[in-house]
């Protein structure tokens, strides 16, 4: 396990992330709808902590009308870590950097993305949500706290904490141009 953590740490810190297309033989779980079907993209400044390791980057998420969640995680330099599609508690990793492509990492990643999708992204999609809401997913040994700007997943079973802070994309584009 330590080996995997070191892999992730090194891979994500710099551009030393890489990508791998899921094997063509793997089952397609969800079609997720076309991009044109989607509502707006949600941008999150993301930090992932596991043990003593710390990863930062950006998570971009879209929720389709069929409620499937599609997303990408990249590091700050623009190199993609993974793509996913999640629906009804199941997640398919469409793309995963080879250095992360280990059985254990796939398992934990799919679990945590499923939790985020079902209890986080869809909650924050509701624009009327103004209060902090905490969900204790007892059966999964995890908890999620959401507010209108932030989602925090605490995966107690695997000692992973994922924090997502919303970025306003309009502001983002404006500032980048300036």
């Amino acid at each position: 396990m330590m080996r995997y953590l070191i892999f992730i740490s090194l891979a994500s810190l710099l551009i030393s992330c890489s990508g791998k297309v899921a094997p063509s033989g793997s089952a397609t779980l969800y079609t997720g709808g076309n991009a044109s079907d989607d509502n707006k993209a949600h941008f999150y400044r993301t930090t992932i902590d596991f043990g003593t390791n710390h990863i930062t980057g950006l998570m971009i998420v879209k929720i389709s009308p069929d409620m499937s969640v599609r997303g990408s995680f990249t590091n700050e330099f623009g190199v993609k870590g993974f793509d996913f599609i999640s629906k009804e508690g199941r997640t398919q990793l469409i793309y995963l950097m080879p250095m992360l492509d280990k059985i254990f990492i796939r398992k934990v990643l799919k679990r945590d993305i499923s939790l985020l999708s079902d209890y986080g992204f869809k909650e924050i999609r509701d624009k009327t949500l103004k209060e902090i809401k905490t969900i204790d997913i007892t059966g999964k040994k995890a908890g999620i706290t959401t507010s209108d700007e932030k989602i925090v997943l605490e995966d107690i079973r695997y000692k992973v904490k994922i924090e997502l802070i919303a970025i306003n994309k309009d502001e983002q584009q404006k500032e980048a141009i300036q």
């Binding site: 090194l10 810190l13 710099l14 551009i15 030393s16 992330c17 890489s18 990508g19 791998k20 297309v21 991009a35 044109s36 989607d38 993209a41 941008f43 400044r45 930090t47 710390h54 930062t56 950006l58 971009i60 879209k62 599609r70 997303g71 990408s72 990249t74 700050e76 330099f77 623009g78 190199v79 993609k80 793509d83 469409i94 793309y95 950097m97 080879p98 970025i167 306003n168 994309k169 502001e171 983002q172 584009q173 500032e175 980048a176 141009i177 300036q178």
Partner: protein, 216 residues
Amino acid sequence: MKRSAAILTLIIVSAMTQLSAQKNEFTALESANAELFRKNLYEASEKINTLECSFTQKQNLSLLAEEISSAGKMTFRKPDQLLWEYSSPYEFLFLMNGGKIITRSNGRTTTIDSGSSPLMKELCKIMIAGLRGDTKSLETSFTTSYLSDGRVVRISMLPKNKSLASIFKKIDLTFDASTFLVSSIEMSEPSGDNTTIFINNIKINSVVNDAVFNIH
């Protein structure tokens, strides 16, 4: 000398790519012209002691049909100090200082030894060589080809080893044919996504104090 070399390169590049320029397409430089450009670029890069610039980064996400834009500034000082600061839409700092790599995000600082990973060491070398236009250094890791559209020269680089190839399908460095300064870096990933960094407001050999790199 630098000026005459630049003019000569411009004339040759323009002449050899006149047709492609009309069509706004890139075509390969003939080997003699590529060699001349390479030589001039290397000589110019050797004269760079410090380099400061701003940048805009655009990343296309194929799965989501979305683009991410970010911006910041970079400071380089010979031989191996590079500070890369993102200021929008988030703050992120990356510093290469000798053998150390320091990152800062959300107020949290992380330090690692670049020597602990051969791949990371290689990537640090590529980042500095790419910024400076040091093709000799880049050619140890990539198979390069030289293209031009009559206005700029593009070095298209294909990774030689498996580790790099799993990260980058291709990297294109675009240089102004008259100043020999890098104007953009485009990284294509095996996934089909690509990220382009546009370099602006370049300042060469201005005084860069030690304090710039004094980050802990």
